[in-house]
């Protein structure tokens, strides 16, 4: 076990949302993020000397980003436009493929075209089902 670099990150998607899933590697991606912020409910009462909160459920949401490639991006955007939740598997490093996050995700897509740079794409996702961290 060691600290790892992000260059071997991977994103797999099963567009059918199947379980067990048969995800395909998404090419031409550069970053993925996963935010596990937990909802908090304010339970501050009279007499308390500071605000107090209790935790609810963790949210699972995040982003993907990459470069436009006509060989791969239309497939990803096709999944986005289908509007159906997909099974997504996020791997921090392909050198340790047994460590990953997986669950059902709703995907939104975006594209950024700039006269001074490469055409890039992005996607936002949030949980469309239960998510797990493995192991």
């Amino acid at each position: 076990m060691a600290r790892i670099h992000g260059k071997r990150g991977q994103v797999y998607i099963d567009a059918t949302g199947g379980s067990p899933s048969a995800p395909n590697l998404v090419a031409d991606l550069m970053t993925w993020t996963l935010d596990m912020a937990t909802e908090r409910a304010d339970v501050t009462c009279f007499g308390d000397t500071n605000k107090q909160r209790v935790s609810g459920l963790p949210d699972f949401s995040g982003t993907l980003a990459g470069a436009w490639n006509s060989a791969s991006t239309p497939t990803l955007f096709g999944v986005v436009l289908a509007g159906e939740p997909v099974t997504m598997k996020l791997i921090p490093s392909s050198a340790e493929p047994t460590y990953y996050f997986q669950g059902l995700a709703n995907l939104d897509g975006s594209i950024n075209v700039n006269v001074n740079g490469a055409v890039t794409i992005g996607a936002k996702w949030d949980a469309g089902g239960n998510w797990d961290m493995n192991p």
Binding site: V11, L25, M30, G66, A67, N69, A118
Partner: protein, 140 residues
């Protein structure tokens, strides 16, 4: 799979402008990377100024390079530096570059260069330099 040979991009630029008969008529000494041999008086220089790779999870996605491409002429050579620079621009601006393993994303000039230098050895000699910095972005 290993990424394609990056030097192939440099070679493709040299090949593209070095095979143009119009430019060679203006710069008969040819096209060189970084420096020309001693004694040359009308030639073209290609130099890599800056380069940045776009890295993806599945390897290198693209190479974004800035090349200096300019005609150089000694004052006594009576060359047509203006036409040489214009021809370089015709050959590079908005064109596709053929390099094994790469696809052209863009090739365009970012800034123009026009300089006159005094020769280091003989102060009576002037060197005219004209061309530009060309952005060459190639997808792998």
């Amino acid at each position: 799979m290993p990424p394609p040979d990056s030097s192939g991009i440099d070679a493709a630029i040299v090949s593209l402008i070095g095979s143009d008969v119009t430019l060679l008529a203006l710069c008969p000494n040819g096209v060189y990377v970084d420096e020309a041999p001693e004694g040359m008086t009308r030639f073209v220089i290609v130099s890599l100024v800056d380069e940045e790779d776009m890295q993806g999870f599945d390897g290198r996605l693209a190479e974004d390079a800035l090349f200096l491409v300019e005609a150089r002429m000694r004052s006594s050579a009576n060359g047509d530096i203006r036409s040489a620079a214009a021809r370089i621009d015709v050959l590079l601006e908005g064109q596709n570059l053929t390099a094994t393993g790469f696809t052209t994303m863009t090739m365009h000039r970012e800034r123009r260069i026009r300089l006159t230098e005094i020769d280091d050895v003989d102060e009576k000699i002037r060197w005219y330099r004209r061309g530009g910095h060309y952005r060459v972005a190639m997808s792998t």
